[in-house]
């Protein structure tokens, strides 16, 4: 049977991708950021997931103002890196898992989560930066990846609670997939940051740390944070953290925190990173 065994949360700051692509990983500014993922790279290489469900948001790359799906599941066989205005990132094409993706779509829609099925989609830094942080730059990404894009650009995004419950529905869907697959779910974006207006550059480390503390032990409390609180306390782009709740919802109630990293600044953003494993999961 397929099983989601762990979650990876991390920010997806575009400048991290640019730093990697331009060979700046050893500079004094960026070295601490990449060093913060040394453990994680080893952890995921040892874990060898077959599939990653990667929850992220599109930044006006695949979806413009023409079409704004709240939840969009990538069911295609492959997804190319998007040209975001400076040419596509030189990263491998993402290989999907159309069979599992179609199964998840069917299961969660019957569970009343009416997500959008996407069979053609380019993927932007929201999806590729977390892969770079976790895997560096191999010729091919080492596993299949199912993108799940969430609208956090135009108000209103889905509530934290809705995201948390969608995660639970995804867990149920994966649990009922007959093939033996080890699945890891990524919840990306955040943490506190604001990219627009006179308040740009806002960072709220206390808010971020509380969320990092609560995500493993009190996810229900995190799920109850209303939009206005993210908007005011964590900056207008801090709302991306609702996507962390999809990943959390897809794990079991009892989890262990395996790793945590928090660093300010990565460009305009507080970079947060958390790895959780199901308590019941053992590699042996």
């Amino acid at each position: 049977m397929a099983k989601i065994v762990a979650s990876v949360n991390c920010s997806h700051v575009p400048a991290i991708g640019a730093a990697w692509d331009l060979g700046k990983t050893d500079t004094p500014y960026w070295a601490p950021v990449f060093k913060g993922f040394d453990f994680s790279k080893k952890w995921i290489a040892d874990l060898r997931p077959d599939v990653i469900i990667l929850v992220y948001n599109d930044h006006a790359s695949a979806f413009s103002v023409e079409l704004i799906p709240t939840f969009a599941l990538g069911c295609a066989g492959e997804f190319k890196p998007a040209d975001e205005g400076w040419g596509p990132r030189p990263v491998p094409v993402v290989q999907g898992h159309p069979v599992l993706a179609a199964h998840i779509a069917q299961s969660v829609i019957l569970d009343e989560f009416d997500l959008t099925i996407v069979n053609k989609m380019d993927v932007d830094h929201g999806l590729t930066v977390p892969l770079t942080l976790m895997f560096g730059q191999p010729k091919e990404w080492p596993c299949k990846i199912i993108p799940l894009a969430v609208n956090v650009v135009q108000y209103p995004p889905p509530t934290g609670n809705r995201c948390y419950n969608l995660g639970k529905a995804i867990k149920k869907a994966v649990d009922s997939f007959p093939e033996d697959l080890r699945v890891v779910i990524f919840g990306t974006g955040g943490m506190s940051h604001q990219l627009q207006g006179q308040r740009a550059g806002l960072i709220n480390a206390a808010f971020d740390e509380r969320l990092l503390d609560n995500l493993s032990k009190n996810p229900q409390e995190v799920a109850g944070i209303p939009f206005i609180e993210y908007f005011r306390e964590a900056g207008s782009e801090g709302i991306e953290m609702v996507m962390w709740l999809i990943a959390r919802g897809a794990l079991e109630t009892a989890v262990r925190e395996v790793y945590r990293f928090y660093h300010v600044p990565a460009s305009n953003t507080a970079l947060g990173h958390l790895i959780l494993e199901n308590d019941s999961f053992s590699r042996t």
Partner: protein, 132 residues
């Protein structure tokens, strides 16, 4: 929209909602066109002529030509769409954040290295006015 709208009480921050999305539709769709290298080349060649192809308001066009990012946001632009313009210009989110906040790039970079803009004094308009 009433005066009690809590989003309006967050200083220096604009909510991109359905109303703004409608207002900025053509501005944002112009930005999307810059995802193609041939369009970026055409835009760079003659910005004003390129902008004429998009049915946006004259005020929106002027804001683009002046690279007045805060004005573009006020007129319905969204930062992720505007990113296509500043990427075409070879600028980063951090470069443009410095412009939007009225700092030099050095001042802005220093603020970020010192932990970013603090939340204290920046939660609400009243708190913002009263900060020390």
């Amino acid at each position: 929209m009433t005066q009690t709208n809590p989003f309006d009480d967050v200083p220096g921050t604009t909510l991109f909602d359905a109303q703004r999305s409608r207002q900025g539709y053509h501005l944002n769709m112009f930005c999307m066109s810059l995802m193609k290298p041939e369009n970026r080349a055409l835009f760079k060649q003659d910005e004003a002529a390129y902008l004429q192809q998009w049915p946006m308001t004259q005020r929106q066009r002027e804001a683009v030509l002046k690279r007045d990012w805060n004005r573009m946001i006020e007129l319905g632009g969204n930062i992720y769409f505007l990113a296509k313009i500043f990427s075409t210009d070879g600028l980063s989110f951090q470069d443009v954040a410095a412009v939007m906040t009225g700092c030099t790039p050095e001042q802005y970079a220093r603020m970020m290295l010192n932990g970013g803009r603090p939340i204290e004094g920046n939660r609400s308009n009243s708190e913002h006015k009263n900060r020390g």
